[in-house]
Symmetry: C2
Subunit: 124 residues, 2 copies
DNA sequence: CTGAATCCTGAACGATACTG
DNA sequence: CAGTATCGTTCAGGATTCAG
């Protein structure tokens, strides 16, 4: 992911390609990326995800998992037991997104201090 | 003033990475990433950005540019002319984020078709 | 041209209760 | 345990207006 050749996004993201934009909106949001990130570690149950993804509500988690499942990024496995057991894991394409997501997480870690001081400077 | 109107956040406080989480929230959103992406091409004026970032409102563009400027990812250059002229460009750390952002854009394009069919399958 | 401020509506979100 | 539904609140975000 070094200086990748500037892809001609003009045609894909900027123009009237509402689908690409919609997909982008689906994944470029806080919870979706955090879920992808957490699921990158291992397969997890709903309740586990609830704990791992700090601060997410039951509803938001469900909602985002549905969207990710619909987009084919997360696989949902239901075990017909009592009580119910549902496991989530990344699909192959989902793993690809994880890589991109990792880049952002790594960047955040690396620039943590810089941003913090930049904010302090700006707020004066 | 949109700064942290949150009250409890017990979980967040317990974790040392609440700042990282906040930074993550700043950049893991549709407009911020699109702006970074567009500014990756070249320095631009406010009005140019308005056209390039398809669908962004005047207000949202201003708001997001302020956040990015505060985080030190975008530099804002004001030319004291009449009429005013303001140019925006990525800073060095901002360029780093651009790389990560590119990964997501590239991924979106590569999985465009897959996601589209995955949705069709899910919606039945 | 840039951008701040105000108003207002619809979407996001949390809490709660209920089902299988 | 996992998921859905409803309700009430908060807030994001669009339109508009005014200022520099």
């Amino acid at each position: 992911m070094v200086t990748t050749p500037r892809v001609p996004k003009d045609a894909d993201l900027r123009r009237a390609d509402s689908l690409a934009r919609e997909i982008f909106s689906d994944i470029a949001n806080k919870w979706a990326l955090l879920i992808i990130d957490v699921l990158g570690k291992r397969t997890m149950r709903f309740s586990e995800l609830r704990k791992e993804v700090e601060g997410v509500s039951h509803k938001m988690l469900t909602q985002n998992l549905r969207t990710l499942e619909r987009d084919g990024l997360v696989h949902r496995e239901v075990y017909p037991t009592v009580p119910p057991r549902v496991e989530y894991r990344l699909t192959e394409p989902g793993l690809g997104l994880l890589t991109a997501c990792d880049a952002i997480c790594a960047w955040t870690q690396q620039n943590y201090t810089y941003i913090n001081s930049a904010r302090a400077r700006f707020d004066t």
